[in-house]
């Protein structure tokens, strides 16, 4: 990979990478660090990374980095650990988009990751599985559960409104 191509990758993928990490960690500082570390790894391994799969490489490195941080900080929020009362909505309705974001934030990390890679990045199940270290079946199940949770959250919102 030439430095020109590397720079193009920075321009093409750094926003998506940053958004992916930021929406998971909710920490701008950590998200910036992960993006920088990820591209540093790409630069170091630029001779060995296939240009056709460079985006997946970046997301995989960033994802693994993010998981390490989550584990260290013990920030993983499991859906079943959250009391039902807290799974609904805030007292003040702030709009569908905000409510969806809140609901996404409550998803277990593996479900949140796969649905974000699916919807924001448009990855197929296989690619998501390679990034997140899951089988295609596991990816499908996690996306299904995530959508079901979001759908039910929206349904409850409609009842309240």
């Amino acid at each position: 990979m030439t430095s020109h191509r590397y720079n193009q990758c920075v321009k093409d993928y750094s926003d998506a990478l940053y958004r992916f990490i930021l929406k998971n960690l909710k920490d701008e500082y950590e998200a910036e660090n992960i993006v920088q570390n990820t591209f540093e790894k790409l630069w170091v391994r630029r001779e060995n990374v296939d240009e056709k799969t460079v985006k997946a490489f970046l997301f995989k490195v960033a994802y693994n980095n993010m998981i390490d941080i989550i584990r260290k900080q013990k920030q993983t929020v499991k859906l079943e650990d959250v009391p039902e009362r807290n799974q609904s909505y805030s007292d003040e309705f702030t709009g569908i988009k905000e409510e969806i974001d809140k609901a996404v934030a409550r998803l277990p990390e593996n479900q949140r990751t796969v649905i974000m890679l699916r919807d924001y990045e448009g990855y197929d199940y296989k690619s998501i599985g390679e990034i997140a270290g899951m089988t295609e079946s596991q990816v499908k199940i996690n996306i299904f559960r995530a959508r079901k949770f979001l759908k039910e959250h929206l349904s409850r919102l409609e009842v309240m409104l």
Partner: protein
Amino acid sequence: MKMTRENYELLLFELLEGELSQEDAHQVMQQIEKDAFYKKEWDLMQRSVLHEDDHPVLFTKKDLLLRPTGRRIFMFTPVAKYAAAAALVLIGGWWLAKTFLLNDDSGNKITKTEETIVPSEMPVDDAVGIEDDVNYDRTAVAKNEISESKKVQRVVKVDAGGSTDQVAVIKVADPVIADLSYKTVNTLGIDNSPPEMTMIQPFNTELAILPDLVFQNDDKDGTSLREVINDGLAKVMGPLSEPKIKISRVKVSRADEKEALAFNVTFTSVAYKTNAYVQLKR
């Protein structure tokens, strides 16, 4: 495909994900249209798809990640050529001095004269930063007892003329006999002003008196640099009918895009081989 209250969520999901065949998708859509409950569930399922924010999240520090491009030509700019030439001229000059001035008539080695800086007195500690590998044994170096198997790597960082952004790094790798270190004053920032390179620790005398070293530049990109080096050496060795030392290999390389110049100088003979890896950074 019959949709029931038991399987409708999975079917709506697969419809949304495009997993159903065209025929199945058509049948499911027909059932959705006929049933208010399914219609509402389908609407909610569609709204579970995440969309970009109105104000998209952007990574604002891209500039920190970008790397310089098109620097290959820089290796052969006049500054780079002068830098390489100056370095090698000084190396060659030092060797000549060592060979012809620091040996007595009988050929015995002079271990210390007023002109000789012995390793223990090296002013290396005056440098801005020094990084030695764990195997570096200063005592052994001082006593000139470096074994052939000893690996020595030394990086000497020297303040470049008071400008903190011009730091020269000289890395000496795997000397078999000689331990090479250079103090470098880097003036790369000034056009047409080559860096001054002053040797801190001399070649081992045994290496310096080896005859018939061969210069052979096998780096296709180093042709121009080789010419410059030859010119530089000729200035030093001009008075000699047959130079007794030549550079065996000069490899121009870029270890890092940010580096302005990097090259390896390898002194070899049948018995000895010493590498000097020189990096000049802006």
